[in-house]
Every structure is written in C-alpha cells, then in structure tokens.
Symmetry: C2
Subunit: 268 residues, 2 copies
C-alpha cells in the first residue's frame, strides 16, 4: 500500500491532511479516488491507515481508520557520521543507509576532508539529502525518516560521542580491534544480549530510549593518526572492517548492515 | 603500494610485462622510475612484488622480487546472481560487491525482469562490468578479480545451484526463513564452524576448494511465486533480509556483507 510521510502538524486526532508533492503524487500519479486507503506516517514513528474523504486541487483529506503497529524500525538507533565525501557520494550513503535502517546522519569535516565546505551552498544540499532520506524511508516502508544534520566540525562530533552508548570509528591499524569482536564484547553493555529490555534512560528527557550506536566513517584519505587518538581518548572504539579496502561510501552501508545483522535486524 | 592486474600470460618465471592502460598509468600518471617497486596480481590469486627494470613507450618490464601472501581474499566464495536491473544499477552492484568480497557475478533474466535483453548490445555492457570489477578489485587491494558472466536464463541459473554448497534466494514471505538463522543452521554443513578445515573437494577438478554460496537477488518487481517454488525445489533457501524493503541493488551488497561478517570477514 502507498505510504506518505506527513508533517506532524497535519495530523488531527481523527483526520490527516495530505498536501504539496504528496497530494500531487496521490491524485495525479496514483489517480486515487474517494474511499481509497493509504498509509500516512509522521516520520517520528507513528503510522496510520487512512481513508480518503475529500480530494481537492492541492490538498487531500482523510479519516484515520487505525493506528498501525511499528514493525519496521530497528531495535537500536544507529547514527552515521560521515566525513563529507566528494561529488554526490553522500546521497548514496543517505539513500542506502536509510533503506538498511540508519536513524540519523551527521556529515562532518575532518583533517583530510577534500570537499571545500561552503555553508551557503550546503544549505541546498542539506535539503536534498533530507529529501533523499524521506523518499528512501517511504520506499523501504519505514515509519521514521532519519534526520540529516548540517555538517559539523570534528571537535563537535567528538562531543556528540557523549550522547551514545557505543561509538565505532572505522579505522584500520595494526593494533586495532575488529567489528565483530567489538560488537560481541560491547553487546551486553549496550543491551544487545537482552534486546527487549534494552531501553535505556535518556539523560535529556528522562524517558526510555533505544540503545544508540555512533558509526564514524572518515573521508577518502582516511582519518589522521591524531584524529584517531582524539577519538579513542573520548571512548571511541577504533574498528577494522576486514582486509579489503572499502571506499568511503561503501564503509557506512556495509558496517551498518553488519551491526544490524548482529541485532537480528537483517533477517534474524 | 600501487597494484596492477596483469594477464597470466604476461607472467614469466622471474619477470612480468606491464602493458596497455596499466603501463600508461604507471609511466604517465604515476611517473614511475627504474628500480621502483609495485605489486602485480594475475587476478586469480597470485600477487608478486616487482622491481621495474625497463620502461618503454608502451610496455614496462619488471623483475619478480617475491611472491606475496594472499591475505585479502575471503575464506568463502560468494557468487552474486542478480536479475538484470534497470539503468546502470548493475555497475553499482559489481563495484560495491567486489569491494566487499564477491567472487563471481551472474546476471540473469527472470519473469519480472524489466530490462529488454539484447545480446549484441549487452556485449559492450559485459566488458564494462568486467572493467568495473577489475578497477574495484585493484582499489580494494584484492588478489582476485571477480568474474562477470554474460546474462543467463532463470532455468540456467537453477542448474548452477548444483555447483554450490548453499544457495540463498532473497525472498520475503510469511513462512520464509531469515538470513541469520539460515547462516547459523547451514554453518556446520558448509564449513562455517570449522573454517580452516573448510576446503571442499571440487567435483570438476578433484582438488580442494573453498565453500561456495550462491546469493540470488530478484529484479525491481521481485521473484514470482512460481520462480520461488522452482528455486526451493532445487534446494535454494528462500530467505528474508529483515522488515525494511531494500532496493534490488542494495540487497546484494548488504546480504553479502552480512554473510561475510558471519565468516569473520568484515573485521572478525
């Protein structure tokens, strides 16, 4: 069944309003008729089955038939921190990792980032990345649209590690640890061994939340030795992804798949 | 260190000849000089360190200094059978799966394959796919260039299942099994539990070979119910990849990463 992500403010207790591109897609592309049913998600975890009641020129109104159970969201929130890669590679990362099940994207700038960062120009790209995340989430039948943050500095990224339960830095070095051993060893601590009891107390809100893993991927030229030391100093686990050298845009999607596989999320 | 895949016939007992694009890259792009060392691979598993002895206009000659140990090839051969997808998606599949560690690509045509197949036109595309596999293998520091076959029919693909130790059909259905449980259950039989003793006898050659897994991914519209039944009848395991719906080109790379992760190949 067709599904649309609708801003929260367009949800009323018993009705939703579908507007803009989504209304156009529904009426012109799908040629929907009164009484038809579609799924509307608020992108934050709520999905409802709705029945179309008014089809207008620019808006569609619909009655909420029932709240749908959330079955397509991972038991763990994985945040992908990716050093800004060249060209449109970040689009690939956002699209593929949204399909696989990422929860948030944090582009960052590091020592060897090749891309010249221009905040004004990047505003347009950020909107594009967010659009790609929304479309990939719809396509993958997710209930949550991953957030895409504006690019931050390496220092700001290191501060963010305080908000997660496990931070993995993709980094190849002699003395490094490997993804599988890191996952198995950290399992108990972050609730991998006991999934359904694995909601942690959120320091900010005081409520319960899922375990959070931050996955940090360097740029084409890699993370510098100094940066790796800084990351390890704040508790990141420098982790190898095996003997084959992965392109920067391949590292995030494959490491994410492996982490979610460990949680039984890639077909448990 | 720079590495080049050189045809086997350009290897002599103590020397190699580097020609064509590789010679151009070495002399013009890298501006290599006499006495410099590079790595040459035959693409079938042999890697040697060589020292440049003659730099000609179109060819470079080099002495073999030593045979290098093979450390970057997976302990299991995974064959990716992908129903021909639209546009240049197969290029993405070949590139990403070569980086991750695939051993062979088998494009195929199935009931819902959208692409009109034209053998003449496809010849050019096949050469392009093989070039992408070679370049990705070089970039990933592999010793083996995965083969890319010319597209085959669904019937021919089903026959190929006789040559592998485990055939996994990516397929979502109520009664289906899940990737992790399939991997764990099939583990012992195909040598997962006892990796280093896991060389199997090759029916054709009589020699020892690695365990072989065939991973079958359907087209955009999926595999038909009839095709799934046919696949199961020849022993394929219909396997789900989790609750999120992956695009056809995402399924192969993520399932491959998870399979190799189970073998300790994504950072064990």
């Amino acid at each position: 069944m067709q599904r649309y992500f609708i801003p929260t403010e367009q949800f009323s207790p018993h009705t939703v309003v579908i507007s803009g591109d989504d209304a156009h897609h529904l009426t012109r592309v799908m040629r929907a008729e009164l009484g038809e049913k579609v799924i509307c998600c608020d992108g934050k975890g709520r999905s409802v089955l709705v029945c179309l009641t008014v089809i207008g020129k620019t808006e569609v109104e619909a009655d909420i038939v029932e709240d749908l159970p959330i079955t397509s969201e991972p038991v763990v929130d994985v945040w992908i921190a990716q050093s800004l890669p060249k060209g449109d590679k970040l689009e690939t990362v956002v699209q593929k990792c949204t399909e696989v099940g990422a929860h948030r994207f944090i582009p960052f700038l590091s020592e060897r980032t090749i891309v010249q960062y221009d905040a004004k120009k990047e505003e347009k790209r950020l909107i594009r990345w967010q659009k790609i995340a929304k479309e990939a989430a719809e396509q993958a039948h997710r209930s949550v649209v991953p957030e895409v943050d504006a690019p931050i500095s390496w220092k700001e990224l290191l501060k963010l590690t305080a908000d997660v339960d496990l931070a993995i830095l993709c980094y190849e070095k002699e003395s490094g640890q490997h993804l599988r051993s890191v996952m198995l060893r950290e399992a108990k601590r972050i609730g991998l061994a006991n999934l359904h009891a694995a909601s942690l107390v959120d320091a900010a809100g005081g409520g319960q939340r899922k375990p959070r893993i931050l996955l940090i991927v360097g740029p084409e030229g890699g993370i510098s030795e100094k940066e790796a030391e800084q990351a390890e100093a704040v508790g990141c686990k420098a982790t190898g992804l095996g003997p084959r050298i992965l392109r920067t845009e391949t590292a995030a999607m494959t490491a994410l798949a492996c982490i979610l596989y460990e949680y039984g999320e890639m077909g448990g």
